[in-house]
Subunit: 325 residues, 3 copies
């Protein structure tokens, strides 16, 4: 697995975090366990640990995302790192500077980590392939390829509620084809041993090679959601509806939206997840999003712990080293 | 008083700071006294106290205001808090996320305080009404409703120069109708016992219920300013002049602008205030703005002490706790 | 020298850093020596010194420059200062606030230092002339006038490679006329004792008074670069080519671009410099920019040490005082 190589150092430890694909189960479990240690920081009186003090983390956001940028920034600050927010559309790329030259410049400023968000699939890998050996890259979402920290915060949330991955049925509903979140979730779920991963959506929004990913494809949501332990709703990109791929929002809700009645087909203790921001009444009913089975806001909380975990791991520091500071 | 309820905790301590209206005098005096303690921080060699270390403060600015945002950011940093600047027009509201969902998400990230600036009256109350119990909201200006930290920095400035509120005549001049600053000042002045508060402006820019606020209305500036101890000039929103509400800038200056000759009608030791930014030659003569009676820049300085005071009070920490850190 | 006066305090120490012009050699050498002390901070595990803890530094960028803003921000953070980024085009100047009023306001907030970037020549001097006595101004580039920290990082880079300035031949190639970088470099090189400074470019891009600056003018690059120890390429502003000043990018490269063959005319151990961002294939061949003689990325690294040095010097703190903190 070429991608695994680039993500791990010679001792098999995480060095970049670009994609779930190709990572072994023990790495994913390490991330979850490390995040567990960080999950109490957010509720402390002083929400700060000195692990990454004096490190410089650059948030390189080539597409805007307040939520993801904010959670990475908070994670970095709670680890005591210095954070640079670089919004690339307004930056020196307007002067025609190439991506690689920008990278070399930030390296020369002794940045320790780049968090990269880009609308082109493979952007984070491109960075990781070209950075100097002491710099780590974290993928904050690249095109329709991967969003690994999102997938890991989802796994963290599932583990907190369901403990054992090896007994679960997980249904992912929506636009699987264009979703970097779904792609990363599928890899994480299968790697962690979930025996039954289902993807549910209209034929136009399911990748043709879905079966090859080890998932079961359903076009009928009522069938697909039956007896699921976890229901993950994807955000519907409204711009898809302008093409021929999708009918109206109303019709989408009727067919693939998570209504209370459809949710009743899942297990009684099923949890409902969504990466956010949600389109109420489009892919999910408000009463479900705000209902007792929803763990959507826990996902947001867990996102900070996961990002602290990944950031500290790629820079080679675990929470157990805190005392040494 | 419904608004008082939401601003105070069960022990009557400040929990949010949304409006002056309904707050008792002792609370306002507490804020002024606390700010007095913080007012030396800005002149220390190390302008920092560790009171809010490890706290996360999110600046939610739905309308741009460099000055107010900057003073809140400085106040937070000098209290050692972590600050998130979230410019909402460029944020996920572009993805159709509702205000409430945004709020829930920031809560889930364990923010401790929101500073809210919004062009809709009531926005800060909306936030305060819906936030989780451990989160505080500070109103950084909402529509034409309130701007309580501005009013308190004005009170702080007045007290430093005039000591006893109960002997003062204060004149507020300009567009009272649309001014959140004026509204908050009037509440603060009357609560602190100022016996004579005057509002001066053309009929079109004075609220119809002005008398009910306990103020005296003047349309003739020369009459209104006579023997005042404090003259507060409001910023003229130039866009008002495009409608029928106001004559030209020149005519406005002739009628309601603070010229040296008009100022001579006030008490000889009267102070001149303005919330900034000033329109020189429109509502105030340059020679007055820069003259010996002007305390306009002191207001800016005091704004940081007031914001530090309010921030530390709503999070339940006074400067006297500094030593314990 | 009027400009010298404003930059130095009564004991001849650096108080602002606006231009190289008029500064004595010992000041420049002090900056280089101080930067030498800071140059290891970037490679430490904890890239932070507490020298400017509790100081407030405002980055006032009236024209966008990610690279320069980022290096000043990093320098300030590594000195433990609090940094305010103020993007002026989106700020209160939109409300018609004058530059001077903005300055007075930031002073009143107890900022300690302004880093000013402006497209008007003289903007930084204007600020320095009007700030309160305890505030320092650093010029981050003003119009076509000066970019003194860029020039000093270039001097730092030259000294590291060539040690003795008094034996060097330095060639600066490109649009000398419009370049604040070139202007500052020429002053720095001549002040530090470089006996032979050459400027190379088409007649339209060489200032008419070039000879008065103590440099030799060449229009033929092959002649001008011959036996140079240092070759400094300037960035070609593509917008110049839209007027009558310049031929096409291709023709420019042929005449004034640094190709491997032209570089062979310089000394065999000549170093190649560029302030960045580079236009590959326009003013410099990619193979040269990335080749063994290029020190372009070292310049970026050194830029942080230089900015830390200047920031700490104007605030009266040297690295030797670190221990006292």
């Amino acid at each position: 697995m070429k991608q695994q190589d680039i993500q791990l150092d010679s001792q098999g430890r995480l060095r970049h975090f670009l994609t779930i694909e190709g990572l072994k189960r023990n790495i994913l479990t390490d991330i979850l366990d490390t995040a567990e240690n960080f999950s109490t920081v957010g509720t402390r009186n002083v929400k700060k640990v000195p692990l990454l003090r004096g490190k410089t983390i650059a948030n390189l956001f080539f597409e805007p995302s307040t939520r993801t940028r904010t959670t990475f920034e908070l994670a970095a600050k709670r680890l005591s790192a210095d954070v640079l927010n670089i919004n690339i559309s307004t930056s020196s790329t307007t002067k025609g500077e190439s991506l690689l030259d920008m990278l070399r410049n930030l390296e020369a400023m002794h940045c320790d980590m780049f968090v990269v968000r880009h609308n082109a699939s493979g952007a984070a890998h491109f960075f990781a392939k070209h950075v100097a050996p002491h710099i780590s890259v974290i993928n904050g979402g690249d095109g329709s390829h991967a969003h690994p920290t999102q997938a890991m915060l989802d796994m963290f949330t599932i583990r907190r509620h369901k403990q054992d991955f090896t007994k679960l049925t997980v249904a992912i509903v929506g636009d699987i084809l264009h979703s970097r979140v779904a792609r990363s979730q599928i890899h994480a779920l299968t790697t962690l041993g979930v025996p039954e991963v289902r993807v549910i959506g209209p034929q136009t929004l399911i990748p043709k090679d879905a079966a090859g990913l080890g998932v079961h494809v359903y076009h009928d949501m009522k069938e697909g959601i039956r007896d699921a332990d976890v229901v993950i709703m994807l955000r519907l990109q409204r711009e898809r509806m302008q093409g021929a791929l999708l009918p109206s929002a109303n019709e989408y809700y009727r067919t693939y939206g998570l209504s209370p009645s459809k949710l009743r087909l899942a297990k009684p203790d099923a949890i409902v997840m969504h990466p956010g921001p949600i389109n109420r009444g489009v892919e999910i009913a408000s009463s479900v999003a705000d209902g007792p089975q929803s763990v959507i806001l826990e996902q947001v909380t867990n996102g900070i712990a996961i990002r602290m975990a990944v950031m500290s791991m790629v820079l080679g520091r675990g929470p157990e080293e805190e005392a040494e500071e």
